[in-house]
Symmetry: C2
Subunit: 603 residues, 2 copies
């Protein structure tokens, strides 16, 4: 099956290629040579997939589309204050090449020639030579490949650019640009002559749609401020004197160029690039407009047509009770945790965190009286967080810290952009901790609760066999017989006691120290304390299903299965009791596992 | 802890209440009586929570804010074509009360007086008397409570409304309105005199932000088309002659009124309502503007500043192998399923489905060769789907049907809006099925696979006790002894065999028919076929943990625990074997449950 969007673009192309209306731009001799039949469409998604149809790899000059990106570059490199002082942001209601300035003698906005030349002037003025190279470099990074200049178009633009020359001199007259007017104009003419394809434009647009991160290369190129403001101007002034209608009818921020290109960016959704040289009376590509309109109307993609649901950001919200970390605990510690089971609250989140979702989370936390002393936010399924959301989350965590709640972030690395974004707003929250694994976060919080309520570890002291859950309710004689049949073993920290896939020929009663049950991949299945058995599945299985490692110095009793079989011949009651205990332990684990399944499935 | 957004609004209120600049509107005597010190702010979220601070419950007249909502009502009731033929959508560049019309002798847009009177005229003209009642009714539903009219303001508006009278006559001259001009003006003056509070405005705005569904009452009031177009006009023309700057700097669609109100709606995020009578030179509430600006800049809430990640919409994607439905299967059927384990693919989705997320899902489905003959989409965690997403999903499912894949939707009711939205685009997909529970969907697909590959159900034939998994490897004598100790029981379909919480005094071997293990809440834990035991936890537990119901006529052998205890006295080997079998069955279930946990935790 072809993805339906590929099918849609193919049908659009088939249908609109037949439209021969419009005329190729001819105000520059070089542009009039464009092939009116050429027609390419490309759509790039914010996860970096690129759909293409027709002449999507055919190069043409970017022309006025460069205005949007150079404005963004100016905001990034010159600072918003300087750029916004030099150029207005209101629609002009005039033609794109009008020489008229606004009441403050500034260009109306950066999408008309006067404003775009002012932008090129700002970049040139600030750093002199190399301005065009910086522009070309940024356009290349936006497209994800090295872009070149069409020197013939550049020469043609320069030779016939008298109107732009007049605009530039007028701008210098009003001190909007400074210095060498011809050098600024050369930057401007060159930036208009950069060669792009419909595919390039789609990726450049998708970078705007993806908050400034190129979704194909992953490079972070523009800050959200520059992206939102560039999209604002594309919305109000991107399609020449057609802005109100464009917002109302199509509702996708866009910019067109006389080379036949259109770039359109729908935030958080997609970037579109089209190429077809014949233009309508407004100067917009006829077929390109049709693609934008078809996409918007068929899929109702107006930028203001959004719905959302904040509740689905919480996938689980529970107090840690029975199903705790994979660390086994001795009975008295387990009892402390059971008594304090509302002390640790876990909230598992999913999806990119936004202002609205974090506000929702903050209300879930504010709702109840804070009984939980530990809050674990599991962010494993959270790919990103907006600035707004990070700020709001920071304030929420600060509020909780004030109430004495310790917050732990799980499911993210200390060096991840996500953690850095959150920490940037929670510097004052001294108690913020982070663990890559939820299980480790829960274990840490459990340790805190146990220590707080008087638990302590009794690892080095030898436990007696009668404390073993697997041997519960056996008579002292039966336990003595088990002890006689088994052999005491000692291991050093770091030694492997049981090897996965080897024959399961014995079981072990842990008497002092800690062991971990791990998959060969390193994933920890459980960690055990004295009083627990391991390798006990040997009673029902032929082979070991996991490794067991000594975490500390370990003492244990190893009981061969052969010895156990002779024990149960001589002590049938005891043998049945042990099997019954094993079934009980398995049933307990099954209940815990099922609770976890239900909890994870409940949302 | 107070939610941080409440703290923020409180701080805003404290800070801006000190600003005494601006002047109360005085063009109508009644308005000049407003209290310049009054200041209320309310913010409503799309999950229907309402923040409030200050005079948020103080009523004032809605004035020009009504224009936005009456335009939406006109689109809904008169149809977009008629409304858009009568009124333009371009910013006017003129004052709100200008008498100038555009080049086609139509009002520039519905946010200036001329356009708003034309809207009232459309609603009045189409249905005559009762036009205002319809407007008041819609405004009331948007606010979630009955709204009244300030009769004194209405009388004052009418007495001093000569300029509007002139506009209305000019509109009739150009055939934009028809019939009784005074009646149309009465509708207009009355709609401007509707009394609202900042809280009302916040909820009305949140309804726009929530795709036309009032998030407090849940009522669906406006279609997405009307919502997006109304927000477009608020974006380009909502704040009088300040539009370009407003989009650029604040970027939240808004509309203000001379009564001192501002309504601002950020799609999929929030609705804001403010009230403070002193106005600036543009006619916008001074303190209200400050709140909008502070909210936008502190939380970076520009409407075009969006980021998202489509990948997080898939929370699990797996072939049904070991952990299948909760329906137990006889060994030969289980074997068929194990051999065909890539025949059923389950994709669990989370969050509101949008164009971009469904496109991503469609590519995951197009990616591989379709080995799976059954695709189950679990939509339990999907609260809504956009029109675009429903359309794209419909096309995806049609493409899969073409490839011979049967799609089943799980986690939604047949009458849910979600299912109706998807089915609207998949009418041609005959194979689309729906189940409220994922487990039932998996069971249905498993049945199909079993039937397709030669399995059949052998329910009515009696199975022998030697086929019982719990009695595996017992000697014929031991099995005969079990049969002698037990008693054969028959049940009719619908009878309850075991009652939760009662003492667990016996276990049952199912010999013919089907039973279901259910929680008292009705949730099915398992369904069992002949050859399986139930109530077997009586061997290790004191009380029943769930109900067991006969799904069909049932024959089984009931074995009292007392009888089992005498059996294991006399047959210690057999007793140990049964306990060992029980431990094995529990271990198998534990493995399946742990796989489910890992699968659900992996995303």
């Amino acid at each position: 099956m072809q993805p339906p969007l590929q099918q849609f673009l193919t049908r659009c192309h088939e249908e609109f290629v037949a439209d021969r209306s419009g005329a190729v731009a001819d105000y520059i001799p070089e542009l009039s040579k464009a092939d009116p039949a050429a027609f390419g469409v490309s759509l790039a998604t914010i996860d970096g997939y690129v759909y293409e149809v027709g002449d999507s790899a055919k190069p043409f000059t970017i022309q006025s589309i460069s205005k949007a990106f150079v404005f963004a570059l100016a905001l990034e490199t010159q600072g918003a204050e300087r750029v916004e002082a030099a150029i207005g942001v209101e629609p002009s209601g005039e033609a794109f090449n009008s020489i008229r300035l606004n009441a403050d003698n500034k260009p109306f906005n950066p999408m008309v020639n006067a404003g775009a030349i002012a932008c090129s002037g700002l970049i040139h003025g600030a750093e002199g030579d190399g301005a065009f190279e910086r522009i070309r470099n940024m356009l290349s990074r936006l497209a994800g490949r090295e872009l070149d200049v069409d020197e013939a178009v550049f020469a043609s633009e320069r030779a016939t650019g008298d109107r732009n020359r007049a605009i530039a001199w007028l701008l210098r007259n009003h001190s909007v640009i400074h210095g060498d007017v011809d050098a600024v104009l050369d930057v401007y003419f060159r930036q208009c002559s950069v060669l792009v394809t419909a595919r390039d434009l789609a990726i450049m647009a998708a970078t705007l749609a993806n908050s400034g991160v190129n979704p194909v290369t992953g490079e972070h190129i523009l800050a959200p401020y520059a992206v939102a403001r560039t999209l604002s101007l594309m919305t109000t002034s991107g399609m020449y004197d057609y802005a109100g209608e464009w917002v109302y009818r199509v509702g996708i921020p866009a910019k067109s160029g006389v080379g036949g290109g259109i770039v359109a960016a729908l935030p958080a959704q997609l970037g579109l690039g089209t190429f077809s040289p014949p233009l309508d009376d407004h100067g917009n590509s006829v077929r390109g407009l049709k693609v934008c309109e078809a996409l918007s109307s068929r899929f109702d993609l107006h930028v203001l047509n959004r719905s959302g649901d904040v509740r689905s950001c919480i996938i689980a919200d529970y107090d840690v009770a029975g199903p705790s970390s994979r660390r086994g605990r001795q009975p008295q510690k387990q009892k402390i945790l059971e008594l304090r089971q509302d002390n640790i609250r876990v909230i598992e989140l999913v999806g990119a965190l936004t202002f609205a979702t974090v506000d929702y989370v903050s209300r879930q936390l504010a709702d109840k009286q804070p009984k939980a002393q530990f809050l674990i936010l599991d962010l494993r399924r959270v790919p990103s967080i907006t600035l707004a959301a990070a700020r709001l989350l920071g304030e929420t965590l600060a509020g909780l810290a004030n109430d004495g709640v310790t917050t732990i972030l799980a499911g993210l690395e200390a060096k991840s952009p996500l953690f850095e974004a959150i920490r940037a707003w929670t510097a004052e929250v001294a108690r913020l901790r982070q663990f890559p694994l939820l299980d480790d976060a829960i274990e840490w919080a459990e340790d805190q609760v146990i220590y707080r309520y008087g638990g302590f570890m009794r690892l080095t002291e030898m436990t007696h066999l009668s404390e073993q859950a697997l041997l519960a309710e056996l008579t002292p004689e039966e336990i003595a017989e088990i002890a006689r049949l088994g052999a005491t073993r000692s291991y050093l920290a770091g030694q492997r006691i049981i090897v996965a896939d080897e024959p399961a020929a014995s079981l072990f009663f842990l008497q002092s120290g800690l062991v971990s049950v791990k998959l060969p991949s390193g994933v920890r299945l459980a960690s055990l304390v004295p009083g627990m058995a391991f390798g006990e599945m040997a009673l029902i299985e032929q082979a070991r299903s996991a490794d067991v490692w000594a975490d500390t110095a370990v003492e244990c009793l190893e009981l061969p299965v052969i010895a156990f079989n002779s024990f149960r011949k001589n002590h049938p009651e005891g043998g049945q009791r042990i099997m019954c205990n094993l079934a009980k332990l398995l049933a307990q684990r099954l209940i815990l596992s099922n609770i976890k399944v239900d909890r994870l499935s409940a949302y």
